[in-house]
Amino acid sequence: MKILKLCYANINLAFALVLHFVFKKWFQRRGLSHFLSFYKEDHVFSLSAEERVTFSSHSKCVFCGLCVSQCELTDAHFYEKFLTPATLAFSYTKSLPEVSSNVDFVAHCSSCRACEKVCPTSVPLNRIIQFVKAHACPS
């Protein structure tokens, strides 16, 4: 009985392996792309190898708020939303889907880098802005 069970399991495994190699040719990584397309609206996306290296430095922000005084956008668009470099940088201590909440800021930003110049923990704000522009802005 035991041997029969083992044989059945092995045959099943072999069958799955053959199926895997056969289907891989036509349906390449169907699961991942399906998953990503499904969660695209929620801004879950895969990072490239370069971005994976720099992504951890995005969350250096300690929310001291020094950049707020330097940003021109904080003045101009105050009434619409709380658009400040601090909120942008701070959202990276949360999860990836938070990127979408920064689209408004990035759209107005002129990349003057004044915020970067005063940052005590040297958050790469300009790089974050390019990152959000690349991933979250509807193109």
Partner: protein, 384 residues
């Protein structure tokens, strides 16, 4: 002369050197902990009974034999401060001899010698006046905000101050109150005008409490420091010191470049003297990675004259959170000329001087001597 760091001690050193006719430049990578000051400035700690500074400081020197005050001459304080005031655009009021009591925005009181103009309300002199204090949750304001800086930026416009005055009048019974204390949010650039405007509209004196972090007075202070550098026409080189050259025991030049894109605009600065005013952990003068290290010249760090570069951090921390932590007292050991020393008591580099909060033996946030040490050590470091 090159000064590294544009906090209070760095600016003081640069002003002193340029007043002596030296050619000075400041290198900085960003703002540091000076931009988080609450608006009060401490020289010596006092508790309870009124005591004169001189006796307290003798006591302090006896208790803590590593304190930077051992190398500094307290009688120079008024000279240093007068020079600083000459270039500094904001008003700083107070006395050299005794502490006043100021209200923090968390509801606690703190003693300090000097305060900036909107914070300068000594609670010992109030007597039986009725004071209305508003909290930092901004529920008295129409919307809740993430950061007080945003509100301060908003209140830089007179229209906003007018609507704030109306809201305050309608919400609270101001006719029964003699004095109003707001959290420090009344504008970033034009705060004294806005304060006067609000006083005129409400018909009673308005003050600001002392800020905790995040801090609006700190922003005002740092902006004023930058303005005083402009006034003394001292150039600022933006960037991080990537490396330095030395010939035997003299540093000859620094290579400064943009922190994030290191290849772009690299500049080399040559000077006779280098003044290190980079501050402690928040400002980026000290770092903890696998070991503790000083970020510019890789100097050895000390706690009570013991080298701690390879020390595990849990040894430098106490379990009681609000106690003074040894970690924040560590720093660079210097001789009486403020030249950094190594563990054998030899000078590391002869033409480098360390000043400000980088020095070992005091905790700038806790022990109530921060302003005095910064000002005096900055003054002395540039005084060659």
């Amino acid at each position: 002369m090159v000064v590294i760091g544009s906090g209070l001690s760095g600016v003081m050193a640069a002003l002193r050197a340029s007043s002596q006719g030296k050619k000075v430049a400041i290198v900085r990578k960003g703002w540091g902990a000076s931009a988080l000051t609450g608006g009060i400035f401490e020289i010596a700690p006092t508790q309870g009974e009124e005591v004169q500074f001189s006796s307290i400081l003798l006591d302090l020197k006896q208790k803590n034999s590593y304190h930077p005050y051992h190398h500094l001459d307290l009688e120079m304080l008024s000279t240093a401060f007068e020079l600083f005031k000459k270039f500094f655009p904001l008003k700083i009021q107070g006395s050299y001899t005794e502490n006043q009591v100021f209200l923090l925005d968390t509801g606690f009181f703190r003693r300090a010698a000097f305060a900036m103009e909107p914070q300068f309300l000594d609670f010992r002199t109030i007597g039986r006046k009725k004071v209305l204090t508003l909290g930092t949750d901004f529920s008295w304001f129409q919307e809740s905000l993430l950061l007080p800086q945003m509100l301060a930026k908003k209140l830089d416009h007179p229209d906003e101050v007018r609507s704030l005055a109306q809201r305050l009048k309608s919400k609270s019974h101001l006719n029964q109150v003699d004095l109003l204390v707001l959290p420090p949010v009344l504008g970033l650039d034009f705060f004294s005008d806005m304060k006067r405007e609000l006083e005129h509209l409400l018909g009673l004196p308005v003050f600001e409490s002392v800020a905790t972090i995040p801090s609006v007075p700190g922003l005002r202070f740092q902006k004023a420091l930058d303005a005083s550098l402009r006034k003394a026409s001292i150039p600022i080189v933006q960037g991080k010191v990537q490396s330095f050259d030395h010939h035997q025991k003299r540093v000859t030049s620094l290579r400064v470049s943009d922190e994030l894109e290191t290849e772009l605009n690299e500049t080399t600065l040559e000077a006779d003297t280098f003044i290190l005013a980079t501050g402690k952990f928040f400002s980026g003068g000290l770092r903890k990675e696998s070991v503790f290290w000083e970020t510019v010249f890789h100097l050895p760090l000390f706690f009570e004259n013991e080298k701690i570069n390879d020390c595990p951090p849990q040894k430098l921390l106490k379990k009681k959170f609000f106690k003074s932590q040894p970690l924040f007292q560590c720093g660079v050991k210097t001789n009486s000329a403020l030249i950094p020393l190594d563990e054998f008591g030899e000078p590391c580099y002869e033409n480098v001087r360390a000043c400000g909060t980088l020095l070992q033996g005091f905790d700038p946030a806790q022990d109530g001597t921060c302003f005095g040490v910064q000002l005096l050590s900055g003054y002395k470091a540039a005084d060659i």
